[in-house]
Symmetry: C2
């Protein structure tokens, strides 16, 4: 028995919102290949995003159309409420075919429905929407007008409903438990992978009978010199007797993500790292206090950067990004970023990962927080101690 | 201390092979965004493939050029032998910028090196090479000739070296351990996620101090009705007292993958499922026996399909695909498939996942094997009991 995470009414509300945005942008039809957009619009869930698949939304249609590999169509029947006629599988020989492409049959479908002359929005920068997929659509629909939908559905996702925020809070609690278990495993001589095995176990076990999903990024751990770059993964090596360990770990509930970073020091920490960690926590406090409805993303970044600068630091990369429902390879929503120039105005229900990591030339530290925007400011979704964690 | 998985000589051999293929195909330069191709060519490793990044190979250059996000350049310094001048970071404001794109700076780099009039191969169908990334290259390099490299590096990867086969065998042993631990957890009333938490723990713990990496697909589990479709993931639900449970699980060592499927029946199995499972095992035996150097992919499929047909079954989807080094979202190499029409001739060192799953209308069964091609036929990389596993 498959339990859908949201009511039929919630999906209908989302679809109506997307259609309003489509009409405003001049699209009669959009093709969504981003798996998070596919799931958000229809509930479709499954690890099949490595083959071409999409959800098509037409202004005049009551339901979206799911298009994907024939063997995955059954997943669409199980995980969505779409009528059977709106679940269309493509022919198996098209998988990794050197000449033909599954979207050749999507073009056939568009013609059969009379949609081949439409103003069509495509997700030009979605991770799995390859240049080749686009070529086949452009060639197969010569009378249509295809253009970039510019993350139209991603932007519709940015303000979370109450039901979505509830899942974000559940993800936050799982992430808290996961990070605490990871920290409890860290000690000199323990292999990096032993910490990560603990992380994965905790991520999936979840809490109170509510399990976790796979996360859009794998758990990240950096040790010693590796702390100067954020995306390395674990090795066979034992943790050293002394030095820094940084972890970025997420947890996901029904694919809604809460990511978190913490920094651990084995042995007595140098003064400079303690100082950096304290400045980071101060900066987060100021930023979360600022993150109220009506304030812009760049204003939140500015108060954080000011705390850094006052203490002699700077963070050149953005300090946060919108989070929510997502699939690998990224838990960011590719919409609002907390950085200079981003004038997106905060609204209640928006969620961000305040990625307050500072990577200097030889070391780094990160003590981040995922948060939801509320009238009182940014409410933290996790609750792990906020300091340089010293294991001595 | 970061340990590279291969010698400098092995990377040099790979690069020379790729250059030979480039010359034959008429490319002066190729741009590789597939993370597996980036890693195979240079050793570059890190979960940063969610932002535009690539490795550029020019016929006249001794070393490839790594291009990616500035904060990930340090990962390139740590995980590769590339000279510092060949590690180029792009400016941070280009991340998720609505107008500009990181590849605008890649075009600048190409101009600075005098490569902007070259015959350039791009990976038009690589998962992370988006239509938008391609647009920016085409627009930014008006004097170059860009065309699809048609998986040129993927094809170079298809025959594994001895060192690579050694990693495949290690992955196979980890996968065996992982699947056995998963099976040992399966029982009525156990939540699906408890099985998966065990899987993740085993995948990462590895064996004998050699850990596992994240796998390119998450562990897949299907229960009851869900067994009619292959890519669903776990839920909170307890396993039933009776019925089918199917699992597809991989293990990865230094990103080299061994995937495996097994089918479990809770309670006394119906005759029809026992029969299907027996036919599958017979079909695999015949196919592995056939999989010797000189035989074509389609011939291997044919002997398998013949066993199915003789027993009243058919498998419309391909029965296998090349495996090796990979990153999410797929452990297939997007080259050879075991299916009608694929005339790729087997060579020693090629590795495949013989994905012998048969999905009927109401249920399915899968008992697959990853194998390496040897003079004696397909040598199995895993060693898990080959039958319908009954837990009664």
């Amino acid at each position: 028995m498959y339990r859908k995470p949201f009511t039929a009414k919630e999906y209908a509300t989302r679809l109506a919102d997307v259609k309003t945005r489509m009409a405003a942008a001049g699209f009669e039809l959009i093709i969504c290949q981003d798996p998070a957009n596919m799931c958000w619009l229809t509930g479709f869930d499954g690890w099949s995003f490595y083959t071409p698949q999409c959800v098509v939304v037409h202004l005049d249609e009551d339901w979206p159309v799911w298009f994907g590999r024939a063997q995955d169509a059954k997943s669409a029947h199980i995980t969505t409420d779409l009528p059977a006629d709106n679940i269309v599988g493509f022919s198996e020989p098209l998988v990794h075919h050197p000449v033909n492409h599954p979207y050749d049959e999507l073009c056939d479908l568009m013609r059969a429905r009379g949609w081949d002359k439409a103003q069509i929005g495509v997700e030009l920068d979605a991770h799995y929407y390859t240049a080749r997929a686009h070529h086949h659509l452009v060639k197969g629909l010569p009378n249509a007008c295809l253009s970039d939908s510019q993350e139209l559905v991603n932007w519709a996702r940015i303000v979370k409903s109450e039901a979505e925020v509830a899942l974000m809070r559940e993800a936050g609690r799982i992430c808290t438990e996961t990070m605490n278990r990871a920290i409890s495993r860290i000690a000199p001589g323990v292999a990096q992978y032993e910490v990560i095995a603990e992380v994965y176990h905790a991520q999936i076990m979840g809490l109170d009978g509510k399990c976790g999903d796979y996360t859009s990024l794998c758990p990240l751990i950096q040790v010693g010199e590796g702390t100067s770059t954020p995306h390395l993964t674990w090795t066979d090596e034992p943790l050293p007797d002394e030095g820094l360990v940084m972890m970025e770990i997420g947890a996901a509930r029904r694919h809604y993500h809460a990511p978190l970073t913490r920094t651990v020091h084995l042995g007595k920490p140098p003064t400079e790292i303690i100082k950096l960690a304290n400045v980071i926590v101060d900066g987060v406090d100021v930023a979360l206090d600022k993150a109220k409805p009506g304030v812009s993303c760049q204003d939140v970044e500015a108060v954080w950067q000011r705390v850094l600068n006052k203490n002699g630091y700077t963070k050149p990369s953005r300090v946060g990004y919108s989070i929510g429902l997502n699939y690998p390879p990224d838990w960011g929503e590719r919409t609002a970023s907390l950085r200079p120039g981003d004038e997106t105005v905060l609204q209640p229900g928006m969620c961000f990962h305040f990625q307050s990591g500072v990577w200097l030339e030889d070391f780094g530290a990160a003590i981040s927080e995922p948060f939801v925007v509320t009238e009182k400011g940014g409410e933290r979704l996790c609750d792990v101690r906020r300091e340089l964690i010293v294991i001595d």
